[in-house]
């Protein structure tokens, strides 16, 4: 169960809450231990069928709880706010990927399963930012491969029109268009110092000296 994306998402949300408002996270923890509250939460979640990639924030109504969340946020520095925004965006992406994909891709499953599978993989890769990680990347790719110009002003908004644009192509054309589209690997330390530490086995030597 711990491997389920829903579970991972809940953990991520809990971490964010704890980070931004320790007091609120304490009272929330108490609330979550109440079976009545859990029951209510389950009924709310099961009544929601789909969550669109752009509609998550709109569904959260201002309640006493999230009004309380605003207070510590306002005291954050600009840099911290930016990182917070990035985190919340990645949380949104994770949610979309684990919950749903656009209806037109679902419909395609019955008529052209191979193309559907390819486009769904592409859609999730775009949502997770493992492909074309910036809006400019999507625009450049669309322009280089002769697709319609992307007019969307944000990357999130550009994904669905971009994938829909690929729908008109047959499987071979689609494969050709996606040719050479490289997944973005997670950024990693590649510094000489880090490699030198491994090669010189600095950590182990330090432990021995201790």
């Amino acid at each position: 169960m711990t491997n389920q994306p829903e579970f991972e998402l809940l953990i991520e949300i809990a971490k964010l809450l704890k980070k931004h408002s320790p007091e609120f996270s304490k009272s929330l923890a108490e609330l979550l231990s109440s079976p009545k509250f859990i029951e209510h939460l389950v009924s709310v979640l099961s009544s929601t069928n789909t969550i669109s990639s752009t509609g998550i924030t709109q569904q959260i109504k201002p309640t006493t709880s999230n009004q309380r969340l605003k207070k510590p946020r306002s005291s954050l520095t600009k840099k911290a706010k930016t990182s917070q925004k990035k985190e919340s965006q990645s949380a949104k992406s994770g949610l979309s990927a684990s919950v749903s994909y656009p209806l037109f891709l679902k419909e395609l499953e019955t008529t052209d399963p191979e193309k559907s599978a390819l486009l769904i993989k592409l859609y999730y890769s775009l949502i997770n930012k493992t492909l074309l990680p910036t809006l400019q990347d999507i625009r450049n790719f669309a322009s280089d491969t002769g697709l319609s110009t992307i007019k969307a002003t944000s990357r999130n908004k550009a994904i669905i029109p971009f994938v829909r644009d690929l729908l008109s192509l047959n499987i071979e054309q689609l494969k050709t268009k996606l040719d050479g589209l490289m997944p973005v690997l997670p950024e990693d330390d590649r510094s000489l110092e880090a490699w030198a530490n491994i090669i010189l086995d600095k950590e182990r030597q330090t432990k021995q000296e201790d």
Partner: protein, 270 residues
């Protein structure tokens, strides 16, 4: 199909055949160099460190699996535990890696009975891959013998320089010695490729002519396409990307590498 070649070339060939949808191949890179450059290129520090810290098997373990130590009996390696997925593409193709480690150099000190281990273990997993690329240092040792035994083809990259060019007959000599000793093993020379070619005239041209003359006399294939010298190759290694995706890599250099990869594929009937 398995064949040995150099680190940057190996990694870029792996990306080419896995990433382009007209290939979409499943590639396994085997790092058989104690300097572990291919592992560094493909994994980056933290992934590599995790492998070491978790004691996951590497090519060292393949060669040393039958070596008894004071701490216990030899351990037989499960081939699937050796494999680390580097990247999986939208089309389902992938690049996997069997990493190396510095201690592989110690296998050179005590090489007895180790050369067959690699081919035995690759035989168990080769059906999962369309191409297995083995990256090994050119100096003759138990590692090159292990690579030859595990390979169908040998790709020889040569820098078009006077001294590097002299290394070519030495390497082919080593392959011929191997073939004489292992008549039953069918190892072919896929060809000689000019690596890091800059078209610097006249020195580079003289070296290329020297290699071409020798190759023609010996019946060795020399690739028409050359792997160009480009700063984008080391930059790609730093960024963990192939040249086709390295930032600001010149289109002409990417095209030259692609030409080589396509010619190479034809040559080995991929």
């Amino acid at each position: 199909m398995r064949l040995p070649c150099k680190s940057t070339l190996t990694v870029n060939l792996a990306w080419h055949f896995a990433a382009y949808t007209h290939w979409a191949k499943n590639i396994l890179v085997v790092d058989l160099d104690p300097q572990f450059n291919a592992s560094q290129y493909l994994l980056g520090v933290s992934k590599y460190k995790t492998i070491l810290n978790q004691g996951k098997p590497t090519t060292w373990d393949i060669l040393e699996q039958n070596t008894r130590t004071p701490t216990g009996l030899s351990r037989i390696i499960d081939p699937h535990k050796l494999i680390h997925n580097v990247v999986t593409f939208v089309t389902g193709s992938k690049i996997d890696l069997v990493p190396s480690r510095l201690e592989l150099a110690f296998s050179l000190k005590n090489p007895a009975q180790k050369e067959k281990q690699l081919s035995k273990i690759l035989a168990k997993i080769e059906n999962s891959y369309d191409l297995i690329l083995i990256d090994c240092a050119p100096t003759e040792s138990v590692l090159t013998t292990a690579a030859y035994l595990a390979s169908d083809y040998l790709l020889v990259p040569v820098k078009p320089e006077y001294l590097a060019a002299i290394g070519l007959p030495l390497l082919v000599n080593s392959m011929n010695d191997f073939k004489n000793e292992n008549e039953e093993h069918n190892l072919s020379l896929a060809g000689v490729v000019f690596n890091a070619a800059e078209n610097y005239y006249p020195e580079e041209q003289l070296s290329k002519n020297m290699v071409r003359d020798l190759a023609s006399k010996q019946g060795w294939y020399v690739f028409q396409a050359e792997v160009p010298y480009s700063k984008s190759f080391p930059k790609g290694a730093r960024e963990g990307k192939p040249i086709i995706n390295t930032s600001y890599a010149r289109t002409v250099q990417k095209a030259r590498f692609m030409n080589f990869a396509e010619e190479f594929a034809k040559r080995i009937s991929l």
